[in-house]
Structure formats: structure tokens, C-alpha cells
Symmetry: C2
Subunit: 129 residues, 2 copies
Amino acid sequence: MNKRDVKKIPESRYAYDGLDRVIHERARLSVLTSLVTHSRGLSFADLKQFCALTDGNLNRHLQVLEEARLVTISKGIEQNRPQTTCKITALGRKRYVDYLAVLEQVLTDAATAMSTDSVRKGTSGPAIA
Amino acid sequence: MNKRDVKKIPESRYAYDGLDRVIHERARLSVLTSLVTHSRGLSFADLKQFCALTDGNLNRHLQVLEEARLVTISKGIEQNRPQTTCKITALGRKRYVDYLAVLEQVLTDAATAMSTDSVRKGTSGPAIA
């Protein structure tokens, strides 16, 4: 087999290409899940709290998400104090849903393997292919 | 609120601390899922194929997993040719299962939000908290 063919073969069964790197990073997954569960948006302060991130980290990840057009960040005034509000965009929601479908596939693959494996435990037969 | 308290507050609802960085990285998640689904182990060549990784990338990630004692890598002879076999360890399986539980939590959080959200779509009511 030609080495250059590796990425094309259908047996790349567990490559999970759909695990979008922009979303998969833990802090950003945390931010997006917070925003998906709060469709009217969250203040910077609330988001920081939900995700247990520092100001610097949250800012950095929000910037990545904003550049990918997955979130919007708007500045306004709330009770006479400046407030930054973050919202997930329609594209962000779509990409997040696509990402979740791949996560589900990981869970399904693992669950299938584990249930099969526990049945076969102790035998010398092959694990599922 | 003291800034240093951010990480301690119970409202860090979506921080997903259990998304173990050693496992969460996409290529390593791919490697571990391949090995969980093949409990007798996989050859380096098969693993490369399943995960659509290059030799260099697979080597690098296997090293990280081996250092964390999540996989074992053994060299032997198969049909007169040297063969490297990779297996998930008991610790690897345990950590992978713990990781899956957090993934499930992400999916549950997202699914709950989305079903609530679709019901409320078009209303001015707050999203779920």
C-alpha cells in the first residue's frame, strides 16, 4: 500500500475527522455548551463562572470562536455598568450540532466495544473488528 | 467576588474538568477508541490505518499514551517480520471509561438545552439556566 493512500482508505474507521478542532478544545467546548444552554446569551462574568476560566483564557478562546463566526460578542450598558454579552450564532449552533453527532459516534463505538468485550472476556477469541 | 475564587464556585457547571487532556486530544481519542474496540491489541500498521495518522504522528501520540501508562507497546515477530503491537492497559480502559462519562454529560447538557430551546423558540422567555 502506498503511504500516501493512508488517508483515503475506508478503514479509517476511528479517525473522527468531524471532531472540529475549533470546538473540540476543552475550554471552547465548555464555552459553546454554556452558550447553547443559554440561547439569549451570557455575560462575560457568567460565562467565566460557568466555565471556570480566567479573564485571559476566556478572552483568548472567545476570540478564536468569534473569528470562526461561531459566537458574537457585544458590548452594552447594564445597570449603568458596561457589560459584554456573548451569544452563539446560527452557524455556531449548526457546527456544534455536527460536532455532537461525532461525539455520539465515539460513544456508540466505545459502548459497542465494551459490551461485546465484557461478553468475550476471558476467551481467546478476537475482539470485534 | 474574589477573582481567585472563580475555580471553586459550584456554578462552574460547564467546566468539564473530567475531559482529561491526555485522552481528549483528537488523535489520542482515536487511538484509544481503536484499542478499546480491539482488546487483543492492534499492530502499528492497523492502528495507523484506523486513525488515518502518519507514522510520525502515531508514534508521537503513542509515546504520550505510553508515558501516561494508558497503553503498552510491544515488539515481536509476526510471519518473520518485526511487528509492533499496541494494547490498552487496565488503567487506560478505566480512564477512558471515566472520560466517556464526561462526554455523555456534555451530550446530555446539550440535548436538554436544545430540546428546551426548540420548544421556546420565538418566545422572549429565558433559556434554561
